[in-house]
C-alpha cells in the first residue's frame, strides 16, 4: 500500500522559475493538504482541499497555487520561486475532515537559489 507519494524527493531551482511539487494518494481520502516545515516555525498550512475541484487557502498561501482535478492528486505550484520558499514541503491527507488525524507523505526538500 503506497499511501501518499510525493515527488520529487529533492529539488533545486532558481529564483523566478516555476516549480510543481506532486502529491498522489492511493486511499481515496477526501481531504488533502500542503504544509511547509521550517526550523522554528513548525508545520504551516499552505492550501487544503476538501474534494476534487474544491480548494481553500491556509496560513501561508501567497506565491503558491494548487489544483485538484482528481481525488488522488494534489499538485502544488510555486509560480515564481523565491528564496523564502526554500523549505521542506509535506503533503497530507485525511479521510474524515480538516480537523482530524492526518496521514503525511515523506516530503519534498526544495532549495531555491
Amino acid at each position: 500500500d503506497a499511501g501518499i507519494t510525493q515527488s520529487p524527493r529533492y529539488k533545486i531551482t532558481e529564483t523566478g522559475r516555476q516549480v510543481t511539487l506532486m502529491c498522489h494518494q492511493t486511499w481515496s481520502h477526501s481531504y488533502m493538504f500542503w504544509y511547509r516545515q521550517d526550523l522554528g516555525h513548525g508545520l504551516r498550512l499552505i492550501y487544503y482541499s476538501a474534494a476534487a475541484d474544491i480548494t481553500d487557502k491556509g496560513e501561508v498561501s501567497d506565491g503558491y497555487v494548487v489544483s485538484r482535478s482528481k481525488t488522488e492528486n494534489f499538485p502544488l505550484t510555486l509560480e515564481s520561486a523565491t528564496r523564502s520558499q526554500t523549505s521542506v514541503y509535506f503533503c497530507a491527507s485525511s479521510p474524515q475532515g480538516i480537523n482530524e488525524k492526518l496521514f503525511f507523505g515523506s516530503g519534498t526538500q526544495l532549495s531555491v537559489l
Binding site: I4, Y35, G40, H41, G42, L43, R44, L45, Y48, G58, E59, F90, A92, I98, N99, E100, K101, L102, F103, F104, G105, S106, G107
Partner: protein, 111 residues
C-alpha cells in the same frame, strides 16, 4: 495570537530514563489536540488525539494526557528507537489554519 509552545526544544535521555514532553496553548476552547512522531527525513506519523481535559491515551511506552491549558507526552523506560521529534498540534475554534502545530521536541535516547 493563538500559540502552541512545546518544551523542551531538545531532550537527551539515557535508555530507561523516563521523562515528559510538554505542549501548551494560549487560547481556550480547544477542540482537539494531536501528537505526532517525526523521524529524520520522513513525514509526521500520527500517535494520539485528545479531546477533553482529563483524557489519557497510551501506546507502548508513550502516554498522552490533557489538561485545560497543556498536554504532556510521558515516555516510560524509553529505548533508542524512541528517538525522534515529537510534534503536537491543536485544533482551535479561532484558528484560520484549522490546526496549529508546535515546533516540536527533539528526543534522543542514548543506549
Amino acid at each position: 495570537e493563538d500559540q502552541v509552545t512545546q518544551s523542551p526544544e531538545a531532550l537527551r535521555l539515557q535508555e530507561g530514563e523516563s521523562s515528559s514532553l510538554n505542549c501548551s496553548y494560549t487560547v481556550s476552547g480547544l477542540r482537539g489536540l494531536f501528537w505526532y512522531r517525526q523521524d529524520p527525513g520522513k513525514g509526521p506519523e500520527f500517535l494520539f488525539t485528545l479531546y477533553s481535559a482529563g483524557e489519557e491515551k497510551e501506546k507502548e511506552r508513550l502516554k498522552a494526557t490533557l489538561t485545560k491549558k497543556e498536554s504532556f507526552l510521558h515516555i516510560t523506560a524509553p529505548k533508542p528507537e524512541d528517538s525522534a521529534t515529537y510534534l503536537c498540534a491543536v485544533d482551535l475554534p479561532s484558528s484560520a489554519s484549522k490546526i496549529i502545530f508546535g515546533s516540536g521536541t527533539r528526543l534522543s535516547i542514548r543506549p
